[in-house]
Amino acid sequence: MAITVTMADYRTAEKSWWCPGCGDFGVLSALQKTLVDLQRLPHEVAIIAGIGCSGKIGNYINCYNIHTTHGRTLPVATGIKLANRDLTVIAAGGDGDGYAIGMGHFMHALRRNVDMTYLVMDNHVYGLTKGQVSPTSDAGFITSSTPQGNLEKPVRPLELALASGVGFVAQGFSGWVPQLIEILKAAIEYRGFALVNVISPCVTYNKVNTYDYYREALTKVEDIPGYDEKDRLGALKTVMEREGLVTGILYREEGPALEDLLPGFREEPIVSQDLRFRQEDLKALLEEHR
């Protein structure tokens, strides 16, 4: 008899730590619904979460979960995916986690193209540490660490991703859960690295980038006449012209993932292979180098 996965299978008993109204609630329910719609079994899914309010998402969803150190979701997720390619691997964290301390990993993960989904809950602030400026904060944004207003220009993750050559770039908004579910489904099913930047308002430390602000400012790509998700240059132009205030699948191009190209990378995941080193193999190796 086929097993049917329901929302209850993806819930945990853990009481939520997030502030009432936090955008991350929208991301959590969208992700749970996505996994149910895709009928993935909880033991087939691994969430590799960073440090931050956003990183707590792994505690609230019943599947494999590693709470890594700050900024290190992507290398850990890469290792997990290469060791067990049967898992649906989702790296998840905040804008600080991914685009500040984790920026080096981000750039290389984009061009490396291991099959996984990278879900960034972008609230333009450091939530967990109580409201400091983040790399995606708007210029002029006043926080405890920028009392005179942010003097730096924000990082533009969508533009970086599009320019890096990665094959799947999308942006969602926690206030628009149905669209986010469609994006996440496509990202998880995409073969290769899929970036899903989710605008996920911090209702406690960010009085500028609020739900009301985004409901007014954001445009869905499906409402842009003639938008073509296969046109990388067009996507880049739209994102730049609209200062990143677009949601939907911005760019999608099918192609092989790193695993498909690795010589000698076997179909069977490493976790189910016999890794014992046989005596005769050792002897042969020693002979060869004698």
């Binding site: 009432p20 109204g21 409201g131 926080t143 405890s144 209702v203 406690t204 430390y205 009085k207 739900y211």
Partner: protein
Amino acid sequence: MSGAKELAQIIRGVAHDEKGRPLPLTPAEAMALAEEVLETLFSSEEWPRMLERSGLRFVAFLPEEWELGSPALVFAQQWDGQSWVNLGRVEVSL
């Protein structure tokens, strides 16, 4: 709707206008504001249920399987220059 009286008590003495000047409210005015806030919060289908009135912000926190009739929490908050701080919370039953 229960909870309006408790919410009115929290609101009184902290409400202010858009320039940050104190807005003294009589008990009846505070009660009317609290009732209006709760009505608006729970008649909306928007998520999250959140609204700003008289310099304060109100956020409803609903249990996961919330439906009309089950209790919910409403937080009253004030911006302190860096974050929204909770002034208090009331249990509301619709």
